[in-house]
Subunit: 260 residues, 4 copies
C-alpha cells in the first residue's frame, strides 16, 4: 500500500507574482506533489487554502498519512478550527512536513509552542545544506552536502524547541547558518521542519530537495493510529491493575468525568 | 537578589469544597507561596484567577522570574489574551512550574503542542516518587524516593512531547507509573511539569514536595532576557556578515517587513 | 529481503543452573532466535561466547543487520578487540538490542559512556511494563501494558545518558520503577535497551516480550551504511567548497594525516 | 566558595612548534587558566600530561569541580587507568569542558561511545560562531555571533551522539558548518564540547572565547555529588519499599553480590 500524501498549498503568490507563476505553473503544491509521485510508493494529491475547509475536511485528513504544508502570505487566513482539526489528526498519527515559510504558520507555531522566529534575507544567495545525521532515513541517497544556487537566507537563532534530531544544517554565502532539517514528535505524529523553498526560486525543482521530500514522507508515515490520544480515562479503584482499597476525600463523584 | 516568584492559584475548589478549604485555609497558592518563602533567596507572592487579568498584567509578569501554575476546575475561564501574554513572557525568559492538574491548562497544552492527556483515579492511594536524575538541581537534598501516602493516580501514557530530561518517575499502589518531573524549554523559558498536588490531600504540606518546589524555582530562574525573541529581523544584503551581491527575483520590496 | 539478525548468547547459566537449562533447553539465544524467526521478514541465527571470536568475526558482523545481546555472568570474558569490532560495526550502521543484564556488558557501557548501574532484587515479583510512546515502532501491536508474573526487579536510578526516547517504563510489585525501553543512536547504529529477561524465569517465552523483540529488530535495521564514519578527512584549501586563500602558521605539513 | 577548576594541558606543541610557543608562552593551559581566573568566582590551576598521573591523581580530581581538557598530539600517551579515574569522577559529579582537538581524546570518545570524527582544514580561514540558544548559561553576555579571524575548519558530520542541547553552530569561510557548542550529561557530570582552539592561532586570547569558557565553568559545576553511582545495590525482599513475598528460582544465593 502506498503512503497517502496530501500537499497543502497556500496558492497565493502563484497568482500574484509573475515570477512565481512562471516557475510553478501548476502551483508550488503541484510541483511538490509531482516530485513525490515520482516514487511509486507514494500517492500525493493537492489541496489549497481557497477550497472549503482549506481542503482539510475530516474525511480528507482521515485518508491522509502525511501532510505537507507550504504557506507564507496568508497564515492568518487559515481558520482556527481547521488548524485544531489538523493538530488532532497529527496527534492521532499523521506525519507532517512543514516547509520553509511555514515556520510562521498557525499549525507549526502551535505544535511547537514557541515563536519560531528567525533572521531572513531575500538576496538570491548560495545555500549549502550539510547532512549532519548521514544515515537518517530523511538523508537517504543524499550527498554529503548539496548546493542551492539561489535561496532566501534564514539565520539562527531559530526559536523552536530543542529538536529530537538535527538532520540538516545550512551554510549561507552571507555568513549565517541555520538548522534546516529538524525532527519532532507531537502525540503520535512525526514532524519534519525542512527549510528550503522560497517561492521566487526553483527550489522544488532541485533533485536533492525532491529526494529529501520523498524520504521524509516515508519517514513520517506513522504505522499505527492512536485515536484515543485526547481521552483522559478514569480508571476506578475496582479496575485498577493492582487491588487497592479506595479511601480519602474526593472532588469527583463516582463515574463523573474528569475536569478539563 | 532573590528570585521573584508569582504563584498563580485557580482558587475555586478552596471555596467550593470543605475538605480543600480545611487543608488549605489560605488557598493552595497560599500554601505553595509559604513553602517557597521558607527559602530566603525566594520572594513568592500570589495571584488568582478572580483578579483583573487573572493577576497576570504585563507589569506583574515583567517583575516575575518564575511563575507557578495550579489550576483544575476552570481552565476555560482563563482568557486567551492572558495566556498569550504569559507565553510571550516565558519565551523572553520567565521560568514556569506547572503543577498536577495544570497539565490540561491552556498555558501548558499550548506550550507543549500536544493533548497532555493521561489516566487518572481519585482513590487516596500511595504514590512513591523516584528520583531518576539524582544530581539534577530539581532533586537537590531529596532522598532516593519519597512517599505521598494519599494521592490521585495519574497514569501513562502522558501525551506530552519527549522531554529534555526525565527527573522523577512515580509508582502507584494501583499498578500505574507516571513521569512526574519533566523538563522543557520554550524560547528562553525553562519549564518543569511536576505531578503531585491533588487538592483533597495535603500534598503541598509535604516536606519533600516543598523541597522540589524550592529547588525548581531556582532551577527555572533564567538569568538573561531575550526580549526580541518574537522578532524576525530582515538582514539586508548590505548588512550581511559576509559581502554578497544581491540578485534574483523578489517577493519583498526593499525595507518591507516579512510576512507573518 | 529479510532483516539478518544475529542473537548473541553468553550461554553460561544454561549449563550451570538446572532451572535455566530446563526453561531454555536450546539456550536463551535459541529461544530468542526462534521467537524472531516467527516473523518471516526476519532471519535470526545464533552465536555464543564460547565460539572463536565469540562468534563475532568481521565476516559475521558484516552480514548482520541487527545484533541482539544477552550476557550476565561473563561480561569480562568478552575480548576487548571483539568489543571494539562490534562497536565499529554499530557505528557504521548495525542495529543493537541490549537485553536485561546486558546493561553491564562491555559493549553497552562503552556505547553509553556511563556506569549503567541500577538496583536489583531476585524475588520473583510481578512486573508491569507500560507503553509510554504508544505508536513507536517498538510498541507495535502491544497492549497498553503487559504483565510478567515473575521477574527480577531493576530499580532506578539507572545511570545511563538521557535517552533519545523513553518507550517503556516498568512498575514493580515491591515498589520500584524502571525505564525499561530506551532508545539511543551511536554513529549510524540504532540501539534499544530492553529490560526484561532474567534467566531463571520464562520471560522470553512471553508473547508480548517476543513482540517487542520482533518490533525492535525491524526498528533497529539501518538502511544505509556509513563505512567511513571513523575517518577524519582533510579537505585542503584547494578542495574547499568555497574558494579560500590559505594563510597562517601550521602544525601539519601538506598532505599529512591528522593527529589522533 | 569559588568553582575549583583544573585545566589539563597536553603541553606538547608548545615545546615543539615555535609559533605555538610564541602565542602561548605559558602554555595553552596557562592562557586558559588565566582567562578563567579573571572571574573571581573561579579558581583555576593547571596540570599537564608530563606530570605523574598526568596531574590527575585521586586527590586532585577530588578537589576539582570542573576539568578543562585540551589535547591533540598525544591522546594515546594518556594512560588508560587515568582516563578511567577521570570518568568515574565525572560520573560522580565533576563538570568537563572538552576543547577543540580534544574531540579525539580517549576521555571524550569513551564518554560519547562514538568515533567523534569530523572533517578538517588548517588554512587560517574565518570562523563565525552563532549562538543558537541565546539565553543558555554558556552564552551569557555573548553577542549574537562572534568572529575568529583565523581558525582551523572542522566540518560536519561530527560523529557524536545527538546532544542534550545545541548551543553554538559555526560557519566557515570555506563553506562548511559545525556544531561548536554541544552539551551532554554522563552520570552526574555535565559536559560541554567547545570547538575553537587550534594551537597555531591566538584563539584563547579572544575575549568571546574566554567568555564562553568562564560561562561554561559555572554551568558545568555540579552542586551535588553522587559517589555511589557505580554501585548496583541489592534490595532484598525484606527491604523492598512495598511488602512482597519472595518466590521463584534464583541465580544468586542470599546476600551474594550481583554479577558484573
Amino acid at each position: 500500500m502506498t503512503v497517502r500524501c496530501t500537499v497543502w498549498g497556500e496558492n497565493v503568490h502563484e497568482h500574484e507574482n509573475e515570477v512565481v507563476a512562471s516557475i510553478y505553473p501548476n502551483g508550488m503544491h503541484g510541483a511538490i506533489a509531482a516530485a513525490l509521485n515520482c516514487d511509486p510508493a507514494i500517492t500525493a494529491t493537492t489541496v489549497t487554502l481557497q477550497q472549503p475547509e482549506h481542503g482539510c475536511s475530516e474525511g480528507r485528513l482521515d485518508e491522509t498519512d502525511v501532510l505537507v504544508w507550504w504557506g507564507h502570505a496568508a497564515h492568518e487566513a487559515v481558520a482556527d478550527h481547521v488548524v485544531d482539526r489538523i493538530m488532532r489528526r497529527i496527534w492521532s498519527g499523521m506525519g507532517l512536513l512543514v516547509l520553509h515559510s511555514g515556520h510562521f504558520s498557525k499549525l507549526f507555531t502551535r505544535l511547537m509552542g514557541t515563536p519560531c522566529a528567525l533572521k531572513w534575507r531575500e538576496a538570491g544567495e548560495r545555500e549549502r545544506v550539510w547532512v549532519v545525521n548521514r544515515t537518517h532515513p530523511i538523508a537517504r541517497d543524499l550527498p554529503e552536502s548539496f548546493v542551492l544556487d539561489m535561496e532566501e537566507m534564514y539565520g539562527e537563532p531559530f526559536s523552536v524547541p530543542e529538536p529530537l534530531e538535527t538532520v540538516l544544517i545550512s551554510w549561507f554565502q552571507g555568513g549565517e547558518v541555520f538548522r534546516s532539517g529538524l525532527t519532532y514528535q507531537r502525540g503520535a505524529g512525526k514532524i519534519l521542519y525542512f527549510r528550503p523553498g522560497h517561492e521566487t526560486y526553483p527550489t522544488y525543482h532541485d533533485a536533492n530537495v525532491q529526494q529529501v521530500l520523498r524520504n521524509a514522507v516515508h519517514w513520517a508515515a506513522v504505522c499505527q493510529r492512536w485515536n484515543s490520544i485526547c481521552d483522559a480515562p478514569n480508571i476506578p479503584a475496582e479496575l485498577a491493575p493492582e487491588p487497592i482499597i479506595e479511601r480519602g476525600p474526593k472532588i469527583h463523584k463516582k463515574g463523573e468525568p474528569g475536569l478539563r
